[in-house]
Symmetry: C2
Subunit: 224 residues, 2 copies
Amino acid sequence: MLSHNAIQAPSTRIHPDVPVTRHTATQLVPPAFAPSQPHQVILYASNAEIYGQGERATALYQVEFGAVRVYRLLSDGRRQISAFHVAGEVFGFEADGHHHFFAEAICNSAIRIFRQPLGADIARGILPIALKALIRAQEHLLVIGRQNAAERVAAFLLDQLERQGGLPQVELAMSRTDIGDYLGLTIETVSRVFSKFREKGYIRLQGVRTVELIKPEALRALCV
Amino acid sequence: MLSHNAIQAPSTRIHPDVPVTRHTATQLVPPAFAPSQPHQVILYASNAEIYGQGERATALYQVEFGAVRVYRLLSDGRRQISAFHVAGEVFGFEADGHHHFFAEAICNSAIRIFRQPLGADIARGILPIALKALIRAQEHLLVIGRQNAAERVAAFLLDQLERQGGLPQVELAMSRTDIGDYLGLTIETVSRVFSKFREKGYIRLQGVRTVELIKPEALRALCV
DNA sequence: GAAGAAATTCGGTTATATCCTAAGGGAAAC
DNA sequence: GTTTCCCTTAGGATATAACCGAATTTCTTC
């Protein structure tokens, strides 16, 4: 009964059991470039579900463009986003053939889906990606387990900066609610920290979704 | 400046650069059962460091007996334990050849060390283990990101119960400080929740490290 | 461009967990 | 058996972020 931004349920879910119609999306690209490795790119509308907790996990996913949130829910609607994924990143790993999380498109997104079973050579290629995801998750544990609100938001902004190649102009694909649910904070707290950083001259806000990091070193000093 | 249980540094570290002498341990078992796959079992004393953040990662580790904590530190000493490992479990995965975390023996422990490079077949065997670790970490994010103190401790106790095969008598290898740093709480809060669970009849404490889960279903109802 | 809806920001109050201090208990050392 | 030290428990004050309500801004839709 602590933290919130309560959310009823995966909202845009339509047909949980039928992958083909599970999304409000249209096919974009011919399904396969090689017969032996059938994979297709599917468009997902904003907030469309890509997969849901409990479903059988039969594929891997790669973001072509757009952004994805992977999250888990408590029964009362509390949500924890464990990761965001942007263009190029692979997600959807599962250990036992079932999804333990939900995945949704944050904005209109194209997702490439790999359905072939994992041979040894493919496993070798996937392992480093999975290990990187593991390290990211464990580092995120430090952020939400031991850092205060300002430190968490600073870490988040720096992470976004890094992912967008270092240009100080950072485009946020996600809402304040998403950021809060990623950082284990409420939207009010996230908003307050943004305002505080603005007042201190660390960032400049051009619209709600565009953040210019003026003093990244100040943010970096915060969360070391 | 929020949460604590501050710890200066990996305390028992002796020779950071010399793996063989890095621990206060003695060799236990002949180094290899197969010449092509040299691996050895090393004894670590309680609180001895197994590896440290920044060191080159050249091996995988498996707990023979005892228990291990894997953690990360902030510069002011705040610590987040990302995982505990008990007999049979494998840890020490790294993505880029360097350790991003510290690993220490919680109690006197024996660790089997695998040094051979990862071939495709081995990668395939390791992948499911890494994926399981990834899911654990992401599920733990939900616990410390969105659950309150009582829910966190309940989740921890149930996790320990499951790991020890379901016998209601749970032996805790770790101190209250370790539990706090795993759950993102202070030791006072952990202790208070233990007391509250005892008063409610959920658990019985036989000594500090032995917890009998009398009503696991009550704990389960707490953290769903 | 106007109206409506949604998302974000702001202000004030409250609750939870930290912080600080101190007492109690067990294990190890003498 | 006694002492010492460390871990744990306990109590009370404080602070941080949640909670609640509302104003403002932004985005959609017409």
